[in-house]
């Protein structure tokens, strides 16, 4: 199979970007990405645009807005979607573009403009991304779905609200070290534990943010990658798996079956196991989701996720650093951009360019991106030379 590498990265500022519309956010990321790669847009063969929801930004056919505004037409571009995992779906599609031989250099863009609508409307749009017929009539929201996972995990494994809050404290700490993060604020355990309840037992600081933002990576075939970049970061393994729409139809509520299966596939393809991973960005849309991800990815035994954060093993100096870019929790979670942003952090870390949050000489990194309440999961494993 053809080898594919990330040869360029561009990350826009995440936050409440009332200064820019969707296409303008993309321009920032694409410009930075091309500068990083040191090539011009005319050298790019094809493009993939990841946008999760039309309803946030009233942007029907967002991919056209994007290729129009950056001046990419008439070359190929289309939009892909996988809810909160949209960015990783875009990256996977870009990889397929190259491996199939259709293109040698592919621009992968992820973007979401979520704050054009009020928070209550954004909450509703995401709530309906569960099962809109059978779950939404009970007032379900995204925090609600993960709250049900949290209650099940706490009942089965004794995971505590303090352990959930410890994830928030860690990710806020690293968000302060990431200039692109939405939140630049340290929090204390006490502050997290006493914040208002969003969906029992999840509190304000257990929840990720509603964010505007864009991110872009440039993928290239082996030959092109070596010509473009001195530090190509290779895509070593990919995994994608799905699960039932309704939470009640899942095999387990304390792990995500889609994550387990996607991890199995990605580890096998890369020829590595959980202990080989030097750094990971995981889908911490809620603190409980990061704890469940530790377990599903094999960073600890099932049920031990709470203890892993308690022992600070997922800090930059720990056994397996996780979300040292601030995670969705503090960096922000613009749905379509998140998966691309995760790949950017791993690329920076593997290149040794992560600045104050650099972990010590990582060789293998992993991204874990979940769509919905677990309906789809994508995992990518990256290697430096």
């Amino acid at each position: 199979m053809k080898k594919v590498a990330i040869v360029g990265i561009g990350h826009g500022k995440f936050g409440i970007r009332s200064d820019a519309c969707l296409r303008e956010l993309v321009f920032e990321a694409v410009k930075a990405c091309l500068e990083d790669a040191g090539i011009a847009l005319k050298e790019v063969d094809s493009m993939v645009t990841g946008v999760a929801g039309d309803e946030f930004s009233f942007g029907i056919q967002p991919s056209a807005q994007v290729h129009d505004y950056i001046g990419f037409y008439p070359k190929p571009n289309f939009r892909v979607e996988g809810a909160c995992a949209t960015g990783s779906v875009a990256l996977r599609t870009g990889w397929m573009n190259i491996v199939s031989g259709l293109a040698d250099v592919v621009l992968v863009v992820g973007v979401e403009k979520m704050t054009e609508v009020p928070t209550s409307m954004a909450t509703e749009i995401m709530g309906r991304a569960g099962d809109s017929i059978w779950e939404y009539p009970f007032g379900t929201t995204f925090p609600g779905y993960y709250a049900m996972i949290a209650n099940a995990h706490m009942a089965e494994y004794g995971t505590t609200e303090e352990q959930l809050a410890m994830v928030a404290v860690k990710n806020h700490h690293y968000g302060c070290l990431n200039p692109y993060a939405q939140m630049q604020k340290e929090i204390t355990l006490d502050k997290a534990l006493t914040s208002f309840i969003v969906a029992h037992p999840l509190k304000l600081f257990d929840c990720s943010l509603i964010t505007d933002g864009a991110a872009a990576v440039l993928l290239a075939s082996e030959e092109k990658a070596r010509a473009i970049s001195k530090k190509p970061v290779w895509v070593a393994g990919l995994g994608c798996a799905t699960d039932a729409m309704r939470m009640g139809d899942r095999k387990s509520l304390t792990s995500l079956q889609a994550s387990l299966e996607a991890a199995r596939t990605a580890y096998k393809m890369a020829g590595v196991g959980p202990s080989d991973i030097d750094i990971a960005t995981v889908h911490d849309c809620f603190t409980i989701a990061e704890i469940v991800a530790y377990e599903d990815l094999g960073f600890c035994e099932k049920g031990e996720g709470g203890k892993l954060i308690e022992a600070k093993e997922t800090y930059a100096e720990g056994r397996i650093p996780v979300n040292v870019d601030g995670g969705l929790k503090s960096k922000g979670h613009p749905l379509g951009a998140t998966g691309v942003s995760m790949a950017i952090e791993i690329t920076k870390q593997l290149r040794g360019e992560a600045g104050p949050r650099q972990v010590k000489e990582p060789e293998i990194g992993l991204t874990h991106n979940v769509g919905g309440s677990g309906q789809v999961a994508l995992i990518h494993i990256f290697r430096r030379e």
Partner: protein
Amino acid sequence: MSADPARWHSSTSSGGNRMEFKNFSLYINQTKVNRFAGELAAGKLMSTLCKKCGRQYYPPQADCPSCMGSEMEWKELKAEGGLVTFTRIHVPPEHFAVRQPLMPFSSVQFEPCPIGLIRVEKGLTIMGWIPKVDIKKIRIGMKMKASPFTLPDGKITIVLEPI
């Protein structure tokens, strides 16, 4: 239920009880299992059963992915079982949000109702509101039953109560 789609839209397909499916689902009114809402209004929690392979569905489905069959029959559920999980959503979606009262200097106290999921026969699960149990007293595993409930505005839903 017949495999003939035309029949699903006939008045008899809602169990003789004309009930807009939207009264249950809030948004969606077109489904091949519209009869579910009519039965719910009449006090029954219904599942569907595949005539060919016998797989049972709750929520009801008009089609069976196990054998790709579409010949289903309706079957009332024995809607009792253990609580699988629960939550109480304090920040509701727009649809359920409390509007500011129009009277100056007044306020509305929002006391949300918990929701949960129980596991009944054949591993099927039913989601419902838990209006009568204090959240502090809700325990995963507690035995509950699910029942249809008609709300003051005429909408129909499902409640879970301890047994």
